[in-house]
Structures are given as structure tokens and as C-alpha cells.
């Protein structure tokens, strides 16, 4: 038997193809991108449960005009027991509780997404830029950040709202602008380690300017824990809004769950359905947010994409 031949060019090319094909299986376990994320997210039962809860709340809120049996501001016999006509009863002013719950979801979700989104945007920029630039800018900035974090947020919000008004957009903005420091802190910590990575150094060596580097390389790779934190912030926003409304500081033009709690607080014994319903609604939304947040964290943390061979 003679010993042949050199491996041909085609054979070498085929080797690479085979190698890539053989990597398919491992690829799915380590892929980046939205699809992989969704796949892994949906593999977790709690995350799925949370998504369903969120979905229910969101659907009710979106389709409120179609679902709600009555106008939430319409007045009917007050303190009516749950029964025919008013499934969840009526509050002391005569408003239908069920309709208020359905419409109230909109406010809660607006706060959740609005405040969290604002907090995310501001926090990311305020954390990434000083973190990347370093030096004095970073030093000054970190001190400022720490000071901010020490101030009790809830009292600050209450103070601002009490003094300056409770228009819903305004309050969402206030919340977003007081929540961002925790995102900034997380983002900054990520940036400090990511800016030392090879691909960032390579981009610098290639002559790319700092701003594109920060927003094309550093932020996307460091966003994971910030996103996870954002889901928690959504829950916080919902709860804070409920608290504000409960204290009577909510926007009187809006129907909100906290408001219902406020209305029913004196009737806990005689008409408990007034406080039970919004309580359950808030709990549902918060559970959903927490489960989803937990699911997101789990997917993003252990080895989402940066698998070594």
C-alpha cells in the first residue's frame, strides 16, 4: 500500500465546513442575539409564568376601552357589594371598581416603562461616559453619584410632587430622573472592566473615536446587568406610584390602583373588596415583573454569549 498524497485544497476547505457544521450544536448553546436570548428565556418556567402575568396586565390595559364594563369615572350607588352589574363592587364615591382596575393598569404600566426607560437612558450615559473617560471627570462624577444614592428617593419624590404638582408625565419624569443613579453605578462598573478588553483596545488602535467606541462596543457588552436592574426598577416605579396615589399625591385626572387604595382605606372592615382588588392587581404586576426580571438575569448571566472553547 503506498502512502499518498497531500491533502488537497478542496479537502481542507471541506474540513473547515465540517468543523463549522460540527460546531452547530455547541453554537446554539452559546449564541448571541435576540433569538437565542428568547429561546433561553422561555426555557424557564418562572419566566414564562411572569411573562403571562405581564401579558394579562398589558392586554387588559391596552384593551381597556373594550373590556371595561363602565366608565371608570361614572358614578353609581356607592359601596355596592360585588355582584351582578358590578363584579368588584363600587367605591365610596360610587365608581365601579372593576373598570377602575382595568383602566388603572394603564397608569401602572406607563410608570413602569416610562420611568424605567428614562432611568435606563440617563443612567447608561451617565455611567458609561465618565467610566470610560476616567481621570478627574470620573472622580468628580463618582462622588456626585454616591451623594445622590444616599438621598432617600421616596421622600425626595414625595417632596417634589407635593411641592410642584402631580401631573402624570411630570411624576414619571421625576421618578426616572431619581432612579438613574443605580443604573449608572452598574454601568460604570461594567465599563471599567470592558474598556480593558482586547476589542476596545483594538478599536482605539484602529483610530476609532471614544464616543463610537463607548456606544458601539462598551455599552452593548455591558448592558446585561443594567437591563436586569431595570426590571426591578419597573417594579419599584409601580409600587412608588401606588404609594403616591395612596397618599393622595397622584394625578387626580388619572385612574390608578393606588388611588383606589386611597379611596378604600377607611372602609377596610366594612367594604374590603375596595382595597383587596387593587392590592391583588399590584401584586400580580409586581410578581410578573420580578419573575421576568429574574428570568432575564439568569439568561444574561451565566455564559450568555462569551463562551470560551
Amino acid at each position: 500500500m503506498s502512502v499518498p498524497t497531500v491533502v488537497s485544497d478542496e479537502a481542507v476547505a471541506r474540513l473547515d465546513d465540517e468543523h463549522v457544521a460540527a460546531m452547530e450544536g455547541l453554537r446554539r448553546a452559546r449564541a448571541v442575539g435576540v433569538r437565542a436570548f428568547v429561546e433561553r428565556f422561555l426555557a424557564q418556567p418562572f419566566a414564562v409564568a411572569g411573562s403571562i402575568l405581564l401579558g394579562i396586565v398589558a392586554a387588559t390595559a391596552i384593551f381597556a376601552p373594550l373590556i371595561a364594563p363602565y366608565d371608570p369615572f361614572g358614578l353609581y350607588p356607592p359601596l355596592g357589594q360585588p355582584g351582578q352589574g358590578h363584579w368588584l363592587g363600587t367605591d365610596p364615591l360610587g365608581r365601579d371598581v372593576l373598570s377602575m382596575i382595568i383602566w388603572g393598569g394603564r397608569v401602572s404600566l406607563a410608570f413602569a416603562f416610562g420611568a424605567a426607560a428614562l432611568s435606563l437612558a440617563v443612567g447608561v450615559v451617565m455611567g458609561a461616559v465618565p467610566g470610560y473617560v476616567g481621570g478627574i471627570v470620573d472622580d468628580i462624577f463618582s462622588r456626585f453619584l454616591e451623594t445622590f444614592l444616599v438621598i432617600p428617593r421616596l421622600f425626595l419624590i414625595i417632596l417634589i410632587v407635593a411641592l410642584l404638582g402631580s401631573n402624570i408625565v411630570f411624576v414619571i419624569a421625576v421618578m426616572g430622573l431619581t432612579m438613574w443613579p443605580s443604573n449608572a453605578k452598574i454601568m460604570r462598573a461594567q465599563v471599567l472592566s470592558i474598556k480593558k478588553r482586547g476589542y476596545v483596545q483594538a478599536a482605539i488602535a484602529a483610530g476609532v473615536s471614544p464616543l463610537p467606541i463607548i456606544f458601539r462596543h462598551v455599552v452593548p457588552n455591558g448592558l446585561a446587568p443594567v437591563i436586569a436592574n431595570s426590571t426591578l426598577q419597573m417594579a419599584y416605579a409601580v409600587l412608588t406610584e401606588a404609594g403616591l396615589s395612596f397618599l393622595g399625591l397622584g394625578d387626580p385626572n388619572q385612574v390608578s390602583w393606588g388611588q383606589i387604595l386611597n379611596a378604600g382605606q377607611s372602609y377596610v372592615r366594612s367594604a374590603p373588596w375596595i382595597v383587596i382588588s387593587p392590592g391583588l392587581a399590584i401584586m400580580t404586576l409586581l410578581l410578573g415583573l420580578h419573575f421576568v426580571g429574574d428570568g432575564v438575569t439568569r439568561v444574561l448571566n451565566p455564559r450568555l454569549s462569551l463562551g470560551r472553547e
Binding site: 482586547g198 476589542y199 488602535a205 473615536s209 472553547e309
Partner: protein
């Protein structure tokens, strides 16, 4: 321009963080002497090997030359200009001609970027249009033997092997057609059986396109294979320079001798005489007085602790920093 790159008396000192008193300015500021007065030159079309163990300052030297860090003092003359003090925007034109390949193939590619996006990035900074970028990416991927280029362009780093990733990194460095490349341990994290392919690629690049290299490595075998001349560093200073075969065959500085003696060799025909391997690398914060190697040196005498030996010229154009080398 005489040389592709000329470095003179380069220094980089890092402040040592940590002590409470130090951070409020009390007491002497402690400093890591990472690079402490290094001078060398790389001729056009040459591959200069920068060799040493960890902590000797070779990687820092590489970062200084690419201006990823700014030197504490000293000059770096590239294309007739001293780039040591230039600002980022001033460096942009320089960066087209001076590129770097990093050690870690798992770290030097953005996991969220496809190969195409990674390789074309330097062109974005040079403001080349999209169609031209795509053409050059294909062309360069073909040059680094990632074929078929089209297939590789849409891949993500995690779908590639270590060797393939390193080729992508090389492609990214090559795409702007630099005249000078710093290669910082480019194969040390790869399997031995695939190193040769990448080393051959870099040699081809050097031979056919005339690209000069500063090749940083701790592996003497690789340094020997790639470089025409070698610079040996220890604790932030150069201890010996010269032609590769001359240094390997007859090392003049005691540290170089120790380094070569320590390398195991698979070929039983090359068994060498046992030489004493003494001591450990000292601290770069408080380096030994006089000659930094003296605590470990078999030739050490009183003068070695007092007076630091200058890098002096010996016969055959070789340089060594030792009182007793000849």
C-alpha cells in the same frame, strides 16, 4: 527615515495605588517601573523580537509604541515624528500605518460583531465607503486564508476556533495596510499545532509586503523562528540585543544565558549543560540597586550592586548591559 521605528529612553511608571496615606499624598509615592529607559530601533522590513518573562515590561513597551498608553518620558519616532506626546486626533493619521495584534483571541474580538463588522472597523475610522469596505474585507480575509471569505464574513467569534479568531484579528490589522505591526504574543494562546500557520502568515506578510514587526514573546523558540534580531528585557530594562542566531548560539548576558538554559528541548541531541537557575524575578516597584539582575547572577560582584551597567557595544555589533560581558 533611517528606521521604521526608533524608541529612545522610553519610560513608563505606574503609580501604586492602595496605601491610604499614599492617596492623600503622604510619604513617598511608590511607583511600578514597568519600562525604565528602553531604547531600540527597528529597521524597515525587519522583524525585531522583544523577548522576556512576564513582568519585564515587553507588553507595556508594545502598548507604548502603539500609544494605547502614554509614556512617562522618552521618545517614539515613527515616520519621522515623535508620537510620544501626540493627542488622539493627531494620532489618527499615524494609526493607519501602525497596527497591533493582541494575545488573546477570545478577548480581542467583540462577541457581538460579525467577522465582517470587526474587520472593517478600522476602515470606518478612515472614512471609506461601504462598497469599498466590503470588497477590502473579502480581499483581506482571503489573504489570511479564511476561505471562502463570504462564509466567514457573517460568522460570529464564538463560531470560530482560536486560530480562526486570530486570523480575523490579523485581518483587522492588515486591512489598513500598515507599514508597522506590533504583535503581542500572537500565538501563545493557540494550540501548538496551529501556531505554525499563523507564524508563516506573518512572515509572508513581512516578506511580500515589507511590513516591519515588533514581535513580543516570552517563547524563545518562536522568537528565534520569527526574528532577525532580538532584544532581551528584564525588569523594565534591556539587557542584551543582537542578531538572533548570535544571541541564541552565544548569549553574552548572564540573564540571557539563564533564559536559554531553562528552555526544555524535545530533541535529545540538543541536551545542554546544566546551568544554575537561580532566584526569582524581583519586584518592579523596588528593583534591586545597580544591576537589576545582580541578586540572581552567578557572576555578581560588588560593583554590580552599586553601579548599573550601561548597554554597551561589544564585538559583532552586539549590545549587552553587564559589567563582565565581552
Amino acid at each position: 527615515m533611517d528606521h521604521a521605528l526608533e524608541v529612545k529612553d522610553l519610560r513608563k511608571h505606574y503609580p501604586v495605588r492602595g496605601s491610604l496615606l499614599g492617596s492623600i499624598g503622604v510619604g513617598e509615592r511608590r511607583v511600578v517601573h514597568a519600562v525604565d529607559g528602553v531604547s531600540f530601533a527597528v529597521a524597515h522590513g525587519e522583524i525585531l523580537g522583544l523577548v522576556g518573562e512576564s513582568g519585564c515590561g515587553k507588553t507595556t513597551t508594545g502598548k507604548l509604541v502603539t500609544r494605547l498608553e502614554a509614556p512617562t518620558s522618552g521618545s517614539i519616532v515613527f515616520q519621522g515624528r515623535d508620537i510620544a506626546g501626540l493627542s488622539r486626533s493627531q494620532l489618527r493619521t499615524v494609526r493607519q500605518h501602525l497596527q497591533i495584534i493582541f494575545q488573546d483571541p477570545y478577548d480581542s474580538l467583540d462577541p457581538r460583531y460579525t467577522v465582517e463588522m470587526t474587520v472593517q472597523e478600522p476602515l470606518l475610522a478612515q472614512r471609506v465607503d461601504a462598497a469599498e469596505r466590503r470588497r477590502r474585507v473579502e480581499e483581506t480575509l482571503d489573504m489570511v486564508e479564511l476561505r471562502p471569505a463570504r462564509m466567514f464574513m457573517s460568522r460570529y467569534p464564538h463560531e470560530l476556533s482560536g486560530g480562526q479568531r486570530q486570523r480575523v484579528a490579523i485581518a483587522r490589522a492588515m486591512i489598513v495596510r500598515p507599514t508597522f505591526v506590533i504583535a503581542d504574543e500572537p500565538v501563545s494562546m493557540l494550540d501548538v499545532s496551529i501556531r505554525a500557520g499563523l507564524l508563516t502568515l506573518m512572515r509572508k506578510w513581512n516578506r511580500e509586503l515589507g511590513v516591519s514587526f515588533l514581535f513580543i514573546t516570552h517563547d524563545l523558540g518562536v522568537a528565534r523562528y520569527m526574528s532577525t534580531r532580538i532584544v532581551v528585557m528584564y525588569l523594565g530594562k534591556i539587557v542584551e540585543t543582537g542578531e538572533t542566531e548570535a544571541i541564541i548560539g552565544r548569549p553574552l548576558h548572564p540573564y540571557t544565558q539563564m533564559l536559554i538554559a531553562a528552555v526544555p528541548d524535545p530533541d535529545p541531541r540538543n541536551r545542554r549543560a546544566e546551568q544554575e537557575l537561580r532566584g526569582e524575578v524581583a519586584s518592579a516597584i523596588d528593583p534591586p540597586s545597580g544591576c537589576r539582575f545582580h541578586p540572581r547572577c552567578p557572576l555578581a560582584a560588588a560593583i554590580c550592586a552599586d553601579k548599573e551597567p550601561a548597554l554597551r557595544q561589544l564585538r559583532d555589533g552586539r549590545l549587552a548591559a553587564c559589567h563582565f560581558a565581552e
